[in-house]
């Protein structure tokens, strides 16, 4: 565990010092902040929901790009530059190497999620009282905002990004090129994000047998990231989400991360450096 910690710390440090992370973080922050100013184009949805959706979208979009690109980059950089050889020549097993890389990236995604959610919470909290006054003046119900719900959503997003990172590391563990790993990982992310559509295709009577089997296999082989889309319910809905459902999703995400890491360790153990 000692080696895992130091590799993770080093990976995190390396990632934080890269321009790509800072660029995406800045882009996400600007997007969230700017959402306040463009609510005039919200096509009728409530302003608070518009800001929240904008923030949730930015968090997932930039977080996913970060998870894929950083996981591939930090992993391949070690192999391309042969720093992995120096590292694995120490009394460090490959499992510790994989776990260290993963936890380093996941820590980075945690910082990203925290900063993005922090700004979103600030924007929502500042805007909500003014919107509440307007609503009261118009005889409409006061818009609901739960910052604790937003906190739970942030944890769920961190878990979702963890799955994306674990999935990427798994693909990277057997990839031979950087580009291949990035493309396959984004394809995996897309499929994981479209699981309900795939489930519909798999269950549709109109689908051919091959399409049904293919869709069915993809729903089984990749995680369902749509389960984590609980932002509006947790943050803007007074009824919230039952604790049991949240616990189930946490369990689901954790199991997927463990499974993907086990697959990665198995693949990487057989990889010759």
């Amino acid at each position: 565990m000692n080696a895992v910690f130091w590799i993770a710390k080093n990976t995190f440090l390396e990632a934080v010092r890269q321009k790509f992370f800072n660029f995406l973080l800045l882009l996400g922050l600007v997007m969230t902040a700017v959402s306040v100013g463009i609510t005039g184009f919200n096509f009728g949805s409530s302003e608070l929901k518009f800001i929240a959706d904008f923030g949730f979208g930015g968090l997932f979009l930039f977080g996913s790009i970060l998870a894929v690109v950083m996981s591939v980059q930090l992993f391949f950089a070690e192999i391309d530059n042969r720093t992995a050889i120096t590292l694995l020549a120490k009394p460090v097993n490959r499992r510790a190497f994989i776990l260290g890389k993963f936890f380093g990236v996941w820590a980075l995604l945690g910082v990203f999620t925290l900063i993005m959610t922090g700004l979103l919470a600030l924007v929502l909290a500042l805007r909500q009282p003014a919107l509440a006054q307007v609503a009261l003046a118009r005889g409409m119900p006061e818009p609901f905002l739960s910052l604790s719900g937003l906190g739970i959503f942030a944890l769920l997003q961190w878990l979702r990004l963890g799955i994306v990172a674990a999935m990427t590391v798994a693909f990277t563990s057997f990839s031979q090129t950087y580009l291949y790993a990035v493309i396959v990982s984004f394809c995996g992310l897309l499929i994981a994000q479209l699981q309900y559509i795939l489930q519909d295709v798999a269950g549709s009577a109109k689908s051919s047998l091959i399409v049904k089997c293919g869709a069915e296999a993809l729903t089984k082989l990749l995680p369902n990231l749509q389960l984590f889309n609980l932002g509006p319910q947790l943050t803007l809905n007074a009824q919230g989400v039952p604790a049991g459902t949240i616990a189930e999703i946490f369990g689901y995400g954790s199991v997927w991360i463990v499974v993907l890491l086990l697959v990665t360790v198995w693949c990487f153990r057989h990889r010759e450096m």
Binding site: N81, A89, E272
Partner: protein, 294 residues
């Protein structure tokens, strides 16, 4: 230089037996044999040179020793442990060829990182790091970012990370590549100092002069096979020839050795030494392993 007396009885630092490594290449999985039934041992406390032309299987052998490759057949043991076990690398320090390190760390941070990875206890960390930096002459540049280092400094910091956990076995792959002659000599002294402290050093280098000066024994590989192994004297000395070093006389005759001795004495000259002529390692290498169509 004398070979340490560890031929029998003590656990060898490295023991390789019948080692073979095949790679599958291309879509059809054509088999390429990189190492072919190689056996040798490196005794504890000696400096061992592993030599061979490019593509001879040295790097593959080193990677098997370090547990980075699994052998197709045969075995490789480090101080009695299978090289694939993590425990086998507790007592191993390694400097890769043309090392590349995390450029965003300072030299001191880098050595500290590898010390932690290698399991140096927190209480001994500062002392171990400073000692490694001092041994390699990197103390003054230790606070600079690694990405600002010259090639020679990268080699030195590489040696520092290899020895920071005070391993019993140090494997150096081309430690003097890109280093000027003075720096190269300093690394040579550093290797000799390790030997004095009882460490085992495996040296891969194309600087054959340096290998000849500091190695106790060598192994030479060619096309995946072990061609020669033994002490430098055994490998390089030509037993079929004799050289007389004579002071005060130009001529020499082997058959008339006794007469010559008397002859020399009668004329007040002395026979100072009789020895076998010896090739330089470089000459031996070029004669035996230069590329030819065969």
């Amino acid at each position: 230089m004398k070979t340490p007396s560890c031929e029998n009885g003590c656990v060898p630092a490295i023991e390789i037996s019948g080692l073979t490594k095949d790679f599958r290449i291309g879509i059809r999985g054509v088999k390429l044999r990189a190492v072919d039934n190689v056996s040798f041992r490196v005794n504890a406390g000696e400096i061992f040179g592993l030599l061979g032309p490019n593509g001879s299987g040295k790097s593959t052998t080193l990677k098997i020793i370090l547990g980075l490759f699994r052998p197709t057949s045969g075995s490789c043991r480090i101080f009695g442990h299978e090289s694939t076990e993590t425990a086998a690398r507790r007592e191993v320090g390694f400097l890769p060829e043309a090392p590349y390190f995390y450029g965003y760390l300072s030299g001191r941070e880098l050595v500290r990182f590898y010390a932690r990875i290698a399991g140096v206890p927190a209480k001994q960390l500062d002392e171990a790091v400073e000692k490694a930096l001092e041994t390699t002459g990197m103390t003054e540049a230790a606070d600079r970012r690694v990405k600002t280092y010259s090639k020679g400094m990268l080699q030195r910091i590489g040696v520092a990370q290899a020895i920071v956990h005070d391993p019993q076995l140090v494997i150096l792959d081309e430690p003097t590549a890109g280093i000027d002659p003075v720096g190269s000599a300093e690394i040579g002294e550093c290797i000799l100092a390790m030997k004095k402290r009882g460490k085992t050093v495996v040296l891969c280098s194309h600087l054959l002069g340096q290998v000849e000066n500091i190695c106790d024994r060598i192994a030479i590989m060619n096309r995946g096979k072990l061609v020669v192994t033994g002490t430098l004297d055994n490998v390089l000395t030509r037993k079929d020839q004799t050289t007389l070093t004579i002071s005060g006389l130009d001529a020499f005759s082997e058959k008339d050795f006794a007469e010559l001795d008397a002859f020399l004495r009668a004329r007040g000259a002395t026979l100072d030494a009789v020895s076998h002529p010896r090739l330089s390692l470089e000459k031996f290498f070029i004669q035996n392993f230069s590329k030819d169509p065969q």
